[in-house]
Symmetry: C2
Subunit: 363 residues, 2 copies
């Protein structure tokens, strides 16, 4: 960060999906990224293809070789893909899978090197991206390994009205129960609490913890996890001073505005959190990877192949993701300043004092 | 049914809960049940206690010994509980458990005998009702056994905007995956299709089938049930002429109004269906037990002990449940008339022709 100016990394995501569409539509408004610098990790050729398909040729993209060359107030692009890259709208192809990984890998490396401050990722196809280099269920797990510095990631869905974290992420539903433990939940409660304080500026966060089973297990009649895992985890967290409450039956919780009494909700599994989140927030939601020393957000939607190439996708969630990433970065800086905690703990800043630290222009 | 007049059975539910409150508040408006007859299976003593607590002493309740004595256009009550029954607001007690079962048992017997046309059940506590006589996870499973006549029940949540059925009902989340099979889903799709035709008058129902795993399993990456169970079941159903579609990733489905393109949705498990249903429909929803030869509905909420005795509960869902039960009964009569299918197949009608068949006044 230089004088409140951030370098915003964006990965191209799946080139056959709506990813470029939502990225380019967002960047059509220069106020969205000014005075910052945008660096797209992608392909100039593919970007040009999508610009043409969307009929937005007025968008200027500055092709650069390194994030160090990024111009402020401009859209910069680093070529990361093979020359033979080819767009096939709505299709899952190995070329697209490889291209999405190449962009992600390059962006992660630059983030590790402190060349970008925040990362906003375009949606990928979790199947075609798999390779010897990428064997993760999603961005969250990959970034945890590559940029986590030993920290655990927490998938946190964010909108103006609701923040929902999931204790278990991209895994089969049948594996959820055995993945839960007191220590895992305690870890997630702490991560969530830390993120609410550090990334959202909430001094005493209130966290609602959902139950796993229908009717919160009906005192053990419909599953024992509430009795044996979730309640003990909440008790332990409370004993350690965290404001968390539950386990709360998930089905009625979102229909009665009960959620508005909490700063965040910890769901036990992916769909339990994402069904109500997407139902209530529609396309305004953002996926934020909390818990890591770096700031990464993404739109809440996926590749939406069915819409690809039709110029019908809404960029609303991507725009929110970009704004949120910048807000969180600045909140973190403020938090560490207020807590006299040197930001050098963050990868994204190199060393020394915060205010005048060059991140990008260090050459 | 006599001249379009129905005998509406109501079970008292859990006496320490909001059950009596929502029943009595609903019946305060006589237009809700006129010209029909209401028969409450409960306790005159407990009803009087709740009337006093709610300050609605003007409500007249006609205590009778048998449903055969029920007066048209009136609220009748049959004493089913022990004399020493005692209300303790907000508490789960064995007395309340016993009382809720006694009422349910009596109502089921009268329904079997054709003395009531429809049954609207007050919420029970699924834990305190358990006994040697009742060892079911809920009403649905009990009524399936007692009144099902060999038919399988389907839990169907109904509102003006949404109908959601669940393939697996009141069971621990960890048991859901192993409970799913091609034959079970095929059975549920057929039950749902039949109910939409027979109970809701939809001639060619369109059914959306949800996936089990996050992102519909990402082609097997996040679980195999879509590939091995859900898709084959949908294919089989389509081959047999059913209009069903899926498996559809559950998280985004309810945020984009996609559901409005379908007459009903088949969810794989309780919370997957009930979270979005209650989020969207709030307290307007009704729980209908489809698939049985008898008509039973209930409000979508539970005992809500925390609200008990405060006169704060909304009777909206109970009122909708009562209306829906009557609508479904009449739709069924119409369906069987249109399809020249004698209603004597139904328990609730004794024999002979539909239109002038006395159900209650046969003494």
């Amino acid at each position: 960060m230089e004088n409140n100016k951030l370098t915003i990394g964006i990965t191209q995501g799946d080139i056959n999906s709506i990813s470029y569409e939502v990225i380019l539509k967002t960047l059509l408004e220069s106020k969205v990224y000014e005075p910052h610098a945008v660096v797209i990790y992608g392909s100039a050729k593919v970007a040009a293809y999508h610009k043409k398909a969307l009929d937005i040729n007025q968008l200027n993209i500055n092709v650069i070789n390194s994030a160090r060359e990024a111009e402020w107030g401009a859209i910069n692009l680093i070529n990361c893909t093979d020359d033979d890259v080819k767009v096939e709208f709505g299709k899952s192809t190995s070329i697209a899978g490889k291209a999405s990984f190449q962009a992600l890998e390059a962006a992660a490396a630059d983030m590790k090197a402190g060349l970008i401050d925040v990362l906003v990722t375009g949606p990928i196809n979790k199947k075609n991206i798999q390779s010897d280099s990428f064997h993760f269920p999603g961005h969250t797990e990959y970034l945890e390994q590559v940029l986590g510095d030993g920290n655990k990631a927490l998938m946190l869905m964010v909108s103006d009205v609701l923040r929902v974290a999931v204790a278990t992420g991209h895994m089969a539903l049948s594996e959820v129960s055995s993945a839960l433990s007191v220590s895992l939940l305690l870890q997630k409660i702490k991560l969530l609490d830390q993120s609410l304080k550090k990334d959202f500026g909430i001094s005493k966060p209130r966290i609602a913890v959902l139950a796993l089973n229908p009717h919160a297990g009906e005192e053990g009649l419909l599953g024992r996890e509430e009795v044996e895992i979730i309640s003990p985890a909440i008790q332990k967290a409370q004993d350690q001073g965290y404001y968390c409450f539950g386990p709360i039956a998930a089905d009625g919780f979102f229909g009665a505005d009960n959620f508005s009494r909490y700063d965040a909700i910890l769901a036990m599994y992916h769909d339990q959190g994402l069904i109500p989140f997407k139902t209530l927030c529609r396309d305004e939601g953002v996926n934020f990877t909390a818990g890591l020393p770096v700031v990464r957000t993404s739109p809440a939607h996926g590749t939406a192949y069915a819409l690809a190439g039709n110029n019908e996708a809404s960029e609303s969630s991507f725009r929110s993701a970009l704004y949120l990433a910048c807000d969180i970065f600045k909140n973190r800086v403020r938090y560490f300043e207020n807590n006299s905690n040197p930001l050098k703990k963050q990868h994204i800043v190199h060393s020394g004092d915060l205010s005048d630290l060059p991140v990008q222009d260090e050459e």
